[in-house]
């Protein structure tokens, strides 16, 4: 396997310098691109005390506790690194100042005194899943998750519907003003919402949509990118098909819904992926419109928690992992589709 991996180069058999550079570059890239994500995912399973540790351990580890005869509570296990008991595994009964009272689990009758600098905790691999469960019990995670899902799903459905209707009109009808409308829509590509924040906020607040998911959804659904993408695709659907359907007694709505929409499925799928990504990851606009925490999306909740001193890293990391999980799963299944879709349409 490795041999074929290494020798599958430019078909000449021998590896030259550029091949080695290529492998080096890619190896470094995997560490740099995946490393931080993996590090965060691993860290999210550490207990709060393990997170405080420096230097940090690679894997999530937890102290080992053992049952010792004569003690009701399990006792933490330490390895002694110095002094007369060096090398032994002892359980700590209690700590008094710089000294720790310990017992040998094999011989629980005898109390031993060990300097706390002469012992290190014995640890084992353990996942602190309570970081995650706490999100649901204490942090209203389900609510934020639901807000995000609601906005993403509804906005995507409306985007698909409106954009495809507009694209259908622009690609399949000849009417006065068509070119003008098309140019108008394309021109809005030049006007990203970021330069209209203040007046859009006025419109949204006049419509009573501040602190409502609709204030995030409506301004976002008429994407010029989507109209353009779908129009270009629909242009490739032969007009004969539409004429055939009209001869088959189809109304214009039926032509759109039963012929054009199903045939545009590949382009619609690309737009669905884009729209889900856009809405799920949206940050600035929701930050402006949604100011009450019960309306927060996941992104807003994450942002507000990271600035909040009350929140511990253990919960924040777990929440980050849960936020990137849906996108990661979608990507894992559809990565080929997504990458080719984006490469072809050149939009993000």
């Amino acid at each position: 396997m490795l041999r074929s991996f290494l020798t599958r180069t430019r078909g000449r058999g021998r590896l030259d310098l550029t091949d080695w550079l290529t492998f080096g570059y890619l190896a470094l890239a995997v560490v740099l691109m995946f490393g931080p994500v993996a590090w965060m995912a691993l860290s999210s399973f550490k207990t709060e005390s393990a997170l405080q540790e420096y230097p940090p351990s690679l894997l999530p580890l937890a102290p080992i506790h053992v049952e010792v005869e004569g003690y009701e509570e399990p006792l933490q296990l330490f390895r002694v690194t110095g002094g007369e008991h060096e090398g032994k595994l002892l359980a700590q009964v209690r700590r008094i100042g710089l000294m720790s009272q310990m017992v040998d689990p094999q011989n629980p009758g005898e109390r031993l005194q060990v300097n706390i600098n002469d012992r290190v905790p014995e640890r084992e691999f353990a996942l602190a899943v309570e970081n995650y469960s706490a999100l649901f019990e204490r942090f209203n995670f389900a609510l934020y998750f639901w807000n995000s899902v609601f906005i993403t799903v509804i906005a995507t459905v409306i985007t698909i519907l409106f954009n495809s209707m507009a694209a259908f009109a622009l690609s399949k009808y000849r009417f006065r003003g068509r070119t003008f409308v098309f140019i108008l829509i394309i021109a809005t590509l030049m006007i990203p919402p970021t330069i209209n924040l203040v007046p859009i906020y006025l419109v949204v607040s006049e419509l009573g949509m501040v602190n409502s998911p609709w204030g995030v959804i409506w301004p976002a659904v008429a994407t010029p990118t989507g109209v353009f993408l779908l129009r270009q695709y629909m242009l490739t659907i032969p007009d004969d098909l539409l004429d055939a359907a009209r001869m088959d007694h189809a109304s214009e709505w039926r032509v759109y819904w039963r012929i054009v929409l199903p045939l545009s499925a590949p382009a619609l799928a690309v737009l669905v992926i884009f729209s889900v990504m856009w809405r799920w990851n949206d940050f600035l606009w929701p930050l402006i419109v949604l100011t009450r925490s019960e309306q927060f999306t996941l992104q807003l909740a994450l942002n507000s928690f990271q600035g909040d001193l009350q929140t511990s890293w253990s919960n924040l990391l777990a929440m980050t992992v849960l936020t990137l999980l849906p996108i990661t799963i979608v990507f894992a299944f559809l990565q080929k589709y997504i990458t080719t879709g984006i490469a072809q349409s050149g939009v993000k």
Binding site: P238, D240, L241, D243, A244, A245, R246, M247, D248, H249, A250, R254, R258, I259, P262, L263, A265
Partner: protein, 367 residues
């Protein structure tokens, strides 16, 4: 079953005029072929009849009723498209049923009609397949089937065979003709291939630049073309034309001579032609007799031997190309000089100024 009347139909796209007032009646049960070179407006005219193009002027009547304002689907017509236009995301069965479902035909009735059409067109085995999985000929049958199940008043065909290979085209030609015999519907068929027109039509309508050049039965058009355009368009290989000057008007026809001084007689009515007028002499390759020393000398440029028949491509003394058709095989070689006789009874004469064809004294192959 329907009579179609086109009364001064006009189509203009803003400033460009595509159809210049077409008058035509297509009788009940007639198989009418629109033929002409590409860009002549035949497809536009068909789409106007279908209701897919708006009618800018004139009136279209079906069974005496004005239908200009009716939508495509309300006119009770069915169309077979050049590209077949099968719905790629539906199976063959769904393709056939789509139109009937749209008018809420009861399910058993849809099933019955689909089965009947499938049997008639031998597409039964493919009903559950998608168009992509079918061959060209099968797709063509499905496209026809989709029209058949609708039981329309009139069938419209827009160059339906142009995407098929030569052999399949001959087969499908026969099948469409058979379909017409069986159903007896009025059918309008658009093609640029005059062979299809000749073999299938009850009535051929020759169009050029949005105008009807001539309408009539295939043999009418072949035997008495109204003008040089129709004469050149109908018949294969193409009619030979020689530029001539009128010399003398006689009872048995018109005497003309070409630039090299060769004389010809055309058995036609003079119909306003005067001596000295410029004219075009037309004769089909089949109506030239080779090897008769009394004829005009021509040089053979090339020879095509097809086995059962032969073609000579010659040049007259005046430099006019001449195609000659011979039955059987020939010993004539390239570069030889031979003589050809123009049979006067088969000779056409057209006025050069407007291309108008003179009435022939003897029409048909009766002689």
């Amino acid at each position: 079953m329907a009579v179609l009347e086109l009364d001064g139909l006009i189509k203009d796209y803003g400033d460009v005029c595509a159809i210049h007032g077409v008058d035509l009646t297509i009788d009940n049960g007639e198989f009418c072929v629109f033929v002409g070179p590409s860009g002549c407006g035949k497809s536009t005219l068909l789409r106007m009849i279908a209701g897919l193009e708006e009618i800018s002027g004139g009136e279209l009547r079906i069974d005496g009723e004005r239908v200009n304002e009716q939508r495509a689907s309300e006119r009770g017509l069915a169309m077979v498209f050049q590209t077949y236009a099968l719905y790629p995301h539906m199976t063959v069965r769904q393709n056939l049923a789509f139109g009937l479902e749209n008018i809420r035909t009861p399910r058993p009735e849809i099933a019955r009609r689909v089965e009947a059409a499938a049997t008639m067109l031998q597409i039964g085995p493919y009903l559950e397949r998608r168009p992509k999985q079918l061959s060209g000929g099968q797709r063509q049958r499905v496209a026809i089937g989709r029209a058949v199940v609708r039981e329309p008043r009139v069938f419209l065909f827009d160059e339906p065979l142009s995407n098929l290979d030569a052999e399949l085209r001959v087969t499908m030609r026969g099948e469409i003709a058979a379909l017409h015999r069986r159903l007896g519907n009025t059918m309008i068929y658009v093609t640029h291939d005059q062979v299809e027109a000749m073999t299938m039509a009850d009535k051929i309508v020759v169009l050029r630049d949005g105008r009807i050049e001539q309408a009539g039965t295939p043999l009418e058009l072949y035997n008495q073309p109204a003008n040089s355009f129709v004469a050149g368009f109908i018949g294969s290989p193409r009619m030979n034309f020689v530029d001539v000057t009128v010399r003398e008007i006689r009872a048995d026809g018109v005497m003309v001579s070409d630039a090299a001084g060769n004389d010809y007689r055309a058995a036609v009515n003079a119909d306003g032609l005067k001596p000295g007028d410029a004219a075009e002499l037309g004769i089909r390759p089949d109506h030239l007799i080779v090897g008769d020393a009394a004829g005009h000398a021509v040089t053979v440029q090339s020879v095509e031997q097809l086995g059962g028949e032969s073609y000579l491509y010659c040049e007259t003394g005046a430099g006019t190309p001449l195609t000659v058709h011979l039955a059987g095989q020939t010993g004539i070689r390239r570069g030889e000089t031979t003589h050809v006789v123009f049979r006067p009874d088969y000779t056409h004469l057209f006025r050069t100024s407007d291309g108008l064809g003179m009435k022939r004294l003897v029409v048909g192959e009766a002689v």
